[in-house]
Amino acid sequence: MAQNTQVKFPWRVVDLIVGAIFIYAGAIKVLDPVLFANDIDNYKILPWTIGVGLAFYLPWLEMFCGLALIVRRLYFGGLSILIALVAVFLVATIAAKVRGLDITCGCFGHVSQNWNFPAHLALDLAILGALLALSFRVVSGDRLQNAV
């Protein structure tokens, strides 16, 4: 039992850190949806109206999914949504860079406004890696009983 707890403990820490990151990122954007709508618009992918809708919706989705990781309720659903969000965001960021757009990602509001492209990319890849690792743990059955 003690050994089992020891094995789980590092993954629980990853749950908490990743969950907290998404709650923080969501909360910052909830406070200033106008800024986030403009950040989405800067990618020049979506019409403004859809961007505004997403600016209101995505931060709450991030927060609920982050919370799901922390409290381990709806865990795998939250994990899957976050993986999809980060993957879409990574593709959009790289596409914007290729198209020569000078964008601020808006991931963490004004905090991240001066981050350069490699910094964005490194953080996103790190988060995606952590999410995939957590997902692999669930799929491999180590925590299936507790999580799902």
Partner: protein, 142 residues
Amino acid sequence: MKSSLVRQALILAALAFVPALGEAIYFRDKISWESPVAASEMVTVDRSRAWGDNAIWVDARPEEEFDRDHVPNALLLNEDRWNDLLPSFLEKWSPKKKVVVYCSSQSCNASREVARRLRGEAQLKNVFVLQGGWEEWLKTRK
């Protein structure tokens, strides 16, 4: 497990929708769903020209473009050098004057951002974004 995943994801998606709807209602007067800038915050070239000396023109484009050409008497104020340029802009600003911010074209974002920061961070009123930007101004220069 797959159905459980979909069910969980749908529950989370639905849960997020509720506060998002509330927030959208709360912010309904602060953001337009139709255009990045509320119609009341946009101004045409003709109208802003009619303001004459009662308007301060703000060029939100990069410094190289400003150096090449700009609206007569416009002040450079862009996000790259916001902290350096804001004090000199504020020295020339007066509460009686309207501020007209422009960038290169209709699709550029810099004028919106500068206008937003002037309203938010500098607490200025009567800040407008020029419709069509510098391109539109050039068309009507002659």
